[in-house]
Amino acid sequence: MFVMHTSRGFLSCFLTLVGGVLAAGVVFGQGWEVSPASILMDRPESSQQVLVTQLDGATRRDATRDAKYAIGSPNVARVDAAGRVTPLADGTTELIIELAGVTRRIPLTVAQFSNPVPVSFAHEVIPVLTKSRCNSGGCHGKAEGQAGFKLSLFGFDAAADYEAIVRAGRGRRIMLASPERSLLLAKGAALVPHGGGLKLDADSPGHRRLARWIAAGAPRESADERAVVSIEVEPREVVIAAEGVQQLRVTAIDAKGERRCVTAESDFVSNAPFVADVDAGGLVRASDVPGDTAVLVRYQGHVAVARFVLPRTAVAAVRLPERNFIDRLVWDKLAKMGLPPSPVSDDATFLRRVYLDVIGTLPTADEARRFLDDPAPGKRERLIGELLERPEYASYWAMKWSNLLRADKVKVTPQATVGLTRWLRRQFAMNRPYDQMVRDIFTAQGPIQNESPAAFFKAVDQPELASRSVSQLFLGVRIECAQCHHHPSERWGQDDYAGLVGFFTGVGTKKLPDGGEAIIAKTGSDAKHPRSGEIVPARVLGGLAADFTGERDRRRVLAAWATAPDNPFFAKAIANRLWAHYFGRGLVEPIDDLRATNPATNEPLLAALEAHLREVKFDLKAFTRTLLSSSVYQLSSETHAGNQDDRQHFSHASPKALPAEVLLDAVCQTTGVPEKFNGWPLGVRAVEVWDNRMPSYFFRIFGRPVRATVCECERSNEPSIAQALHLMNSPEINAKITHRVGLARQWADSPRTADQLIEEVYLAVLARRPRPGELEIARQAFAVAPASQVGAAETGVVQTGVVQTGVAETSVATPDASRMRREAVEDILWTLLNSKEFLYVH
């Protein structure tokens, strides 16, 4: 263990640098620096990561692996090329670092090497097991353990782990008389057959430390003075070059304030490995994809984050017009990242996007034509306002929230599914402020078949399930992890989980005389800690024990906290959820996993959105209008060389797959043939079907959610071959295209010219007019005899047999000619329905 004397260390480092600068007579900020300023290692298994940073003006570059290292007395310590120092014997010497012709020396002391203090089980043994992944979820850490040996996940339960290692299995895992032959070590080093293979090399410091612990009698200390109270990662903010590297250092601080380097024992995870990935030793390697990432560092239940920005270089900042604060903050970020935005999209793209995003419905050909031909300024804002007032808005958002609130007819009864769906539709239709709506959900009671949110508590009918569902859905906190173990990347532990459960213990159900069921609120009680069984007083996340004075329904206290102006989770969670819906990706991803270790890709923007949502008093329509009015929302999805790799910063729109229900409705609308759902009146749209279990091949292959979780991720938007086959070649879709009262037939039977027909189909399916080349391709369909084209060169241009296009065809006389005309329209409709442009929101 080494001790860095923080203030003095910093000062001496500073002086070293200044001295170097003065001596060399160079500009301040040139040269390089090294940290720490001194090294003390007081355990045989300690190690110290040295960081060397090259300075060039404002830029700092990691040179840890460029420097040359040596030890003054090589018998005292050893240093490798990566700047990691390990002790060899007691003594004092110095670490010599040489870079760019300059040599620096750091005092280095090794103490207690030959006569070390005893190993702490909780603070020194468990981290070795965690780092070696012995207690990971795929191995001995899973609930039932592995091959009879069960450890607590990530080592959060030292008492249980001690029991498992020292006592369970009739004590066969350790051998006090011959530590090296202990099963624990022999398995880890794969000296005996081990299902997990080699996990802890016999030469490694971790192995030596375990052996030393066993040799000392495998003690379990009671004093907790070595408990780590926090960890620090250095550097915390890094601007990294493409293909650049950065060594991280992790320092643990214990209750006495002592600091030691635990880099070699920490876990590292990058949340965007395509930007920069990190290895087990804490070395971050950037890719050539501009972006940013957070590297999560985990040690003994503590977490820290190092943030990396990989900008594109040598790019002049492009700032498009700023319509509101969203644009300003996105352009700021794009300028910082060197990402020029795509241009604002054309009217047709905007039109289709905003229809599908806001109301889950395509514009009709007439609606499209009206908008495209409208010369008045401000038509985009007007359209946004109109769409928000359409009944389809309420239906679409009711569907989305029925999924999230798990309106599953099997679980909550069909009547209750209808009741919840209706209640949701009314909330969105009347634009109920979100905080009020959620307060109603939190405190719902009464008959579940009523038009009310009560069915939600039938869907999440256990206090544990209710608490983790509410937490994930409304607070963006995945507390679920903490049901079984301390959250691996958050501060939440099992006591936080139990504290939250205590708010829902009073929720019960009552059978009603009419055979129905009602949610009732009884006096709740505090919940038990899942492991220790101790009673944990109900408390909100990050808060103190709740005060239920004068409140019978404990959920009211939680609701008041959640919707209070200073709640750190509530507004942020819904702001991010709505952003993700409209922009195709959350500022935080996954969208319901907000935590310090998973920062937003644009934190000022998320903060501003949160503030704006409060400012408009949780008026979702007003908030949506702000989102959609921004230039950022209206950007083209076409990328250019400068931003094609951007996946995080909204420099261009991202194509979004049409959800199953929206896609089916779009097919029905563009063919003019509604879907007949079994047991439902004709004309009901897929978005309106509350029955989540309705058998439907279409829904199944296009991934309609079954409402098994409160996670948005339940909806699968992944493409499959069955989807492609169905759209291309199914009798169902073909029947719609060729239906005798369908739109294709109506168009074909109208006195339009071929080009007018083509335009009509384009407007109906893609909400735009065909481009010249596309018109050319579509005209092929009007060739006199399609059979003659078989085997024709696939040039895309048909030379012969084309019906005179552009000329009114008033003389569609023969039945043969009218059939061919019909087939031509059908084939164009088929082609557009199968284009990728149709399947995605662009």
Partner: protein, 448 residues
């Protein structure tokens, strides 16, 4: 370093040689056929990887509802009649191995496959047991009404295979279900990309057709070509990335399926000679097995054949001997023979099993109820050693007495035979790394 755990009490085989003795003989090299696979199995368990693909594809026949172990592959002729049931035991091509009289086709080729008699788990529900067997995960729902697939979160074995092995080179999708979706055959959090392509039709019917693969009524080949030409013309110049690009590749695969004669032929079970079709049996399970072989030939990695109807609570024996056992017996035997004749048996793993077995004692309604404690699994080909009985049950066929095999063992074994690292992890929607299979060991002695 290898050691074998021996039962505390030496058990004797029918010829009077104790197991302990057999093992000693084996260790001395006198019985290599017995000991070598066991040693290999031990090695397989010990090694961190050892991932050599023995099989390229798997045909998984699922006898949904719970086939009765004692009325088929694990007869108990010495048990009282209320246990052993009315079916007589018959000898098989492997001396000492007996089946019941309705498994005559399999009895003739018992030397070509292996029966595991000791598969055992404790989930006694249909949907839940099916979920458990196909995913290795305990279901979070109770038995009752469920969507299909029931595995909303965790991927099924077929989806794992599809994800790990991808396309087998041909046009056909890597993972296919027939004649309807397998109850728990879904992709879970792997997503639609790894969902089975489902042939929702019975290949034994004269009008059998694969959904969305047939010629559309009223659409001439000329129009078909015109549509494709126009679509290709439109898509040619559009830049595609991400999912849209993936969709494009699925479109071209789908187009190949519709238009490529080879791909369409793979689904056309009617092309098979009448004689061979009869060998498999003109039944749903028989023709499904035959079609499965065609699909494997065309490059499919995992064909799941769902054969329902085995939940025989009432008056079970007439339906077992009339409708259930003979078609399954015939289909399995024909499939193994056919694969062997075509030289495909080594590269094709065939598995036949259900989600549970049935109660040892015949109930008051002359049926048998749910019993997951003892089940049989049939394995053929794919690098397994044929002609064996692995594991054993007590005298009532109620519980394993030797080599109990868990669901994890089964899944790990199938993955390993296909060269898949069953411990590979994927992050679930909560971000937790989840292994394909939680634990599991190779079924001892199964490897050739």
């Amino acid at each position: 370093m290898l050691s074998f755990r021996l039962p505390g009490k030496a058990t004797r085989t029918c010829d009077g040689v104790s197991r302990r003795h057999l093992l000693r003989l084996g260790a001395a090299g006198l019985l290599p056929a017995l000991s070598l696979p066991r040693m290999l199995a031990a090695e397989e368990t010990a090694g961190p990887s050892g991932r050599r693909a023995r099989a390229k594809s798997c045909i998984f026949i699922f006898l949904e509802g719970g086939p009765p172990q004692q009325d088929m592959w694990d007869p108990k002729p010495d048990a009282p009649v209320e246990i052993r049931g009315p079916f007589a035991p018959i000898s098989t091509s492997v001396p000492g191995t007996i089946f019941t009289e309705h498994c005559g086709n399999c009895a003739k080729i018992a030397h070509k496959f292996t029966v595991v008699r000791s598969h055992s788990h404790n989930d006694n529900g249909h949907a839940t047991g099916y979920h458990y067997v196909m995913t290795g995960r305990r279901p979070t729902f109770a038995d009752g009404e469920h969507p299909i697939p029931t595995n909303e979160l965790y991927p099924s074995l077929g989806s794992m295979v599809a994800r790990e092995l991808g396309s087998g080179g041909g046009t056909v999708p890597p993972y296919i279900n027939m004649p309807h979706p397998m109850g728990a055959g879904g992709p879970g959090f792997f997503g639609a990309e790894y969902a089975p392509f489902v042939i929702e039709a019975d290949p034994s019917q004269p009008d059998f057709e694969v959904k969305d693969l047939g010629q559309l009524e009223g659409l001439s080949a000329a129009r078909q070509a015109r549509r494709q030409r126009m679509l290709a013309g439109l898509e040619k110049d559009r830049q595609r990335a991400g999912r849209a690009a993936a969709m494009s590749t699925y479109y071209s695969k789908a187009y190949d399926l519709i238009t490529s004669p080879a791909a369409r032929r793979a689904f056309n079970v009617r092309e098979e000679p009448e004689k061979l079709r009869e060998n498999y049996g003109l039944t749903q399970i028989g023709q499904s097995a035959l079609l499965a072989r065609r699909l494997v030939e065309a490059g499919c990695r995992f064909v799941g054949v769902d054969a329902p109807g085995w939940d025989v609570h009432f008056n079970c024996f007439p339906s077992l001997e009339g409708d259930l056992i003979p078609p399954a017996d015939k289909a399995f035997a024909a499939l193994v023979n056919d694969l062997e004749a075509r030289g495909m048996l080594d590269s094709t793993l065939v598995v036949m099993m259900g989600e549970m077995g049935r109660t040892p004692r015949v109930n008051a309604q002359a049926g048998r109820d749910h019993w997951s404690m003892a089940q049989c699994i049939l394995f053929a080909g794919g690098g397994t050693r044929p002609g064996q009985i692995i594991g054993a049950t007590d005298k009532q066929a109620a519980a394993p007495t030797r080599d109990p095999i868990s669901v994890a063992d089964l899944l790990h074994t199938v993955c390993s035979l296909l060269g898949i690292d069953s411990h590979k992890t994927y992050d679930d929607p909560l971000g937790r790394p989840v292994p394909l299979v939680d634990g599991g060991k190779m079924i001892p002695g199964l490897l050739a």
